[in-house]
Amino acid sequence: MAISKAQGKFVETEIDDEVVLMDLESGNFFSLAGTSLAVWQAIDGERSEDEIAALLADEYDQPLERILSDVTDFLGELRDAGLVNG
């Protein structure tokens, strides 16, 4: 299933090597940097969780299983926050 950002639910801004998100429902802020930022940037509405993990495994030259676990955990957090769908 493709993962997509919940457009209209948040605003974001890039600061140096970081993206700061503001949840427009709760007013909560999220700071994304490093791997979490790479996952966020890989979410394009077309890639699935597995495809995002494969992309990052290739980019960081890491075993897919390890990356997939991190991606799954982080996407779970984003889903809980209502920032992504799928």
């Binding site: 427009l24 429902e25 709760s26």
Partner: protein
């Protein structure tokens, strides 16, 4: 009304708005009051919709009343509550302005003011002018009245 009482009335108005804003921020979900602060207008900067010199002068005066009221109230009146209070006072007078919410870059973060809110009009910060850098997250605009 004498000038003294007029000024006191404005400070009292500011104090009431600050108290209201503090309660709002503390107790009501952001989504329920966000739209009251203004509207987002992608690609349009505040400096492109200037207010008149008279309105700008009046807005600066009101900002000073908000700061004065905040200092006299018990407890801390944070930047967002002050900005909301001034925004409501400006809207009541149909003076165009923008409420900005911003974050400090990660490298400069770690203090109490990593997130900040301020009010600006015609590209000038009226209230909440803290040294930056800041990355703007959300800008909510309120238009001036047509004159």
């Amino acid at each position: 009304m004498s000038e003294t009482w007029r000024l006191r009335a404005r400070t009292a108005e500011a104090a009431l708005e600050i108290v209201r804003a503090r309660l709002l921020v503390a107790r009501v979900p952001f989504a329920r009051w966000r739209d009251q602060l203004g509207t987002t207008r992608d690609g349009v900067s505040d400096a492109e919709t200037p207010v008149s010199a008279d309105d700008l002068t009046e807005a600066r005066r009101l900002a000073r009343h908000v700061d004065r009221a905040a200092m006299r109230l018990p407890g801390e009146s944070k930047c967002l509550a002050r900005a909301i209070a001034l925004g409501r006072m400006l809207r009541r007078r149909a003076i165009g302005h923008t409420l900005v919410i911003a974050a400090r870059p990660g490298a400069a973060r770690g203090g109490d003011d990593d997130l900040h809110a301020w009010i600006e009009a015609s590209g000038l910060i009226l209230l909440g002018n803290l040294p930056g850098p800041w990355a703007r997250l959300l800008a909510l605009h309120s238009a001036s009245a047509a004159r």
